[in-house]
């Protein structure tokens, strides 16, 4: 298994998100390898859910496309198994709690471990509700990655102290999606996390341009880019490889320089 920590070793991490099954699982397999080739240090694989309440329109639409294409959790696992031997960078899943809960925590995390998926991000499972999942995930050596939001305030230290893998720092209020401007005081939240933990911090939500990526990579340990990538895939469908490669390469270069 490629541990999540490797993504942050001696470098700023570029974390690329894409939705499994959009437009097809075969395309997702190809695009994950493309993102790796373009320099992504960690791949975040979205598992589609019918009601993704933390997502903006871009990822909502991708989730709906993936589900209408018939994407199921076992299919996502099979897709990851297909590329597992070619993956040099760590992978994590991002999804909502219900598909995991219904699949069964132990069964889910055992599959993650067998496939080399090092962690999960579940936006509707805040710190207080992680007990059940963490117990099962811990036995399999899979990290439950927690989010910290601009409104977390007094909760930041407690969350950071118990964080696994990396802290997903939500840059802005609202849902996922490309933003022109981010107004949150990210540096002070980073400082608060650093005060209690040396866990890597990756900033996400709204980051789309190389300038934004460079800025946040400089402040933290990595940046997460989701909607901008999903939008490219949405635009080009089965033929997104070149555009995706060019975009990811540009973002990685910006982060390396930052």
């Amino acid at each position: 298994m490629n541990s999540i920590g490797e993504a942050f070793q001696n470098k700023k991490a570029f974390i690329a998100y894409l939705m499994a099954g959009d437009p097809s699982l075969a395309a997702s397999a190809e695009y994950i390898l493309t993102a790796q080739e373009a320099g992504a240090d960690l791949i975040e694989i979205g598992i589609p859910f019918s009601d993704p309440i933390a997502e903006g329109e871009v990822i909502q639409a991708a989730s709906a496309r993936a589900l209408s294409a018939g994407t199921k959790l076992d299919g996502v696992f099979d897709m990851v198994a297909f590329i597992q031997d070619r993956m040099r960078v760590p992978m994590v899943f991002m999804t909502y709690l219900n598909p995991v809960f219904v699949y069964g925590y132990e069964r889910f995390f055992a599959r993650c471990a067998a496939l080399g998926v090092g962690g999960v991000i579940i936006p509707d499972m805040p710190y207080e509700e992680q007990g059940e999942a963490k117990e099962a995930a811990g036995k399999c050596g899979v990290a439950v990655i927690t989010l910290v939001a601009p409104t977390s305030e007094k909760r930041v230290a407690e969350i950071a102290r118990h964080a696994e893998g990396f802290v997903y720092l939500v840059s802005s209020m609202g849902v996922t999606g490309v933003r022109g401007e981010i107004t949150t005081d990210v540096p002070s939240i980073v400082a608060e996390i650093r005060r209690v933990s040396d866990i890597p911090i990756a900033v996400g939500f709204g980051i789309a341009t190389p300038e934004q990526a460079a800025y946040y990579a400089d402040l933290a340990d990595g940046v997460i880019v989701g909607s901008a990538i999903v939008r490219i895939i949405g635009q080009y469908g089965m033929g997104a490889k070149e555009a995706l490669y060019a975009y990811a390469k540009g973002m990685k270069a910006a982060i390396r320089g930052g």
Partner: protein, 394 residues
């Protein structure tokens, strides 16, 4: 029942961005519960503005028609704005105001909760925005215009199935965008803690009144309390005061749409499974992969794939029973109540009336039962006409 749990159900499964707001809300609510000034202001509004206590009506014609137990109707339809929703909304809006919030947002299905929220916002001088599935804005056009008259902006929701579930999704997304000056007035006993508890408390006035009105009318408690269940707020409000009275049967009526053996229903207890969605662990209509199922009912207010966690718990421990009622049965009861008593119920409440007619017969003449008539049916008249093949324009 600490941490918002009802047995295994409940909890706070919500994005981190909203967690601090939920704690702030819980603290403010706890303070207000023991604050005589808050309680006095709320009961003043419930009495002088909403028109409480609502009547308990001895429905003799309906009783005769059913041919069994005596049927009483708890007339929540006579409240200001025409449903039980005002009880909860006045409580939450007052609370939000005390918390310094200037804006409220709400989801709505049939539009009754949206209208109640719009009304409270007008009364208390707050900004209000309501999210409503596009399909519901079409089948409940009258309520959309009522909300606009009251100064509220109505956002038609075009994602997903374009009904109540999607309206909740969109209101939650809106709340994560703007939480500092905004309170989300959730309309039912669902969502993350403290909503199921708080909405139940605000609605529990229904059951307390039923108790004292029944004692006055019959000198004893009812043998059954019957209410319709979508998320389950009128039912929880009617049931809560009787949970400790084991002899009082508590009966929730779910929307069975075209039948629970078809795919067109919203019968969560009959057909759902344990899951986590909309902030709570509860029962949900879903597929084998945990994707939330598209549900259906003639009633926009019951057209929801989940149920409040406390109902899931009452079902689990066997304290309350839940029965499915189809569109056909509800429409028949809608018409029967209109003709027998001159009362046009909301199509949601007609689900409870339909089952109460069956239950009364089964229970026999020496018994009595109370049906929570949660709302009035003006909003449904055009839809019922369409159901009967008549196209009328409002």
């Amino acid at each position: 029942m600490g941490h918002g749990r009802f047995g295994e159900f409940g909890g706070r499964y919500i994005p981190e961005t909203l967690m601090s707001a939920l704690y702030e809300l819980e603290e403010a609510y706890t303070r207000c519960q023991s604050d005589p000034a808050f309680q006095a202001e709320l009961s003043g509004l419930l009495k002088h503005y909403a028109g409480r206590p609502s009547l308990l009506y001895d429905a003799r014609n309906l009783t005769k028609e059913a041919g069994g137990a005596k049927i009483y109707l708890k007339r929540e339809d006579l409240n200001h704005t025409g449903s039980h929703k005002i009880n909860n909304v006045l409580g939450q809006a007052l609370l939000a105001k005390r918390m310094g919030k200037t804006r409220i947002i709400a989801e709505t299905g049939a539009g009754q909760h949206g209208v109640a929220a719009a009304t409270a916002a007008a009364l208390l001088g707050m900004e209000c925005e309501v999210f409503m599935g596009k399909e519901d804005t079409e089948r409940q056009a009258l309520n959309v215009y009522r909300m606009r008259l009251l100064g509220t902006t109505v956002h038609p929701v075009t994602s997903g199935t374009m009904t109540l579930k999607d309206a909740v999704n969109e209101t939650m997304r809106e709340w994560t965008k703007r939480v500092s000056d905004t309170h989300y007035v959730l309309g039912s006993v669902m969502g993350p803690h403290p909503f199921p508890m708080m909405v139940r408390d605000f609605q529990s006035v229904i059951g307390r009144e039923i108790r004292s009105e029944m004692l006055e009318a019959e000198g004893r408690l009812p043998d059954a309390v019957v209410a319709c269940v979508g998320g389950g707020s009128n039912a929880m409000g009617a049931f809560y005061d009787f949970i400790g009275d084991g002899a009082v049967r508590l009966v929730g009526c779910e929307a069975a749409g075209r039948g629970i053996d078809t795919e067109r229903h919203a019968a969560t207890i009959a057909r759902g499974a344990v899951g986590v969605f909309h902030g709570m662990k509860s029962l949900f209509c879903q597929d084998e992969c945990g994707q939330i199922a598209p549900v259906y009912s003639i009633s926009a207010g019951l057209d929801y794939p989940g149920i409040g966690p406390e109902h899931a718990y009452l079902h689990r421990i066997g304290r309350a029973e839940y029965v499915p009622v189809t569109d056909d049965e509800a429409v028949e009861a809608f018409e029967k109540l209109a003709r027998a008593e001159g009362i046009i119920p909301a199509i949601e409440s007609a689900h409870a009336v339909a089952h109460a007619l069956r239950l009364a017969k089964e229970m026999g003449e020496e018994k009595c039962l109370v049906v929570c008539l949660s709302g009035r049916g003006d909003k449904d008249v055009a839809a019922i006409a369409r159901y009967r093949g008549e196209d009328i324009h409002e």
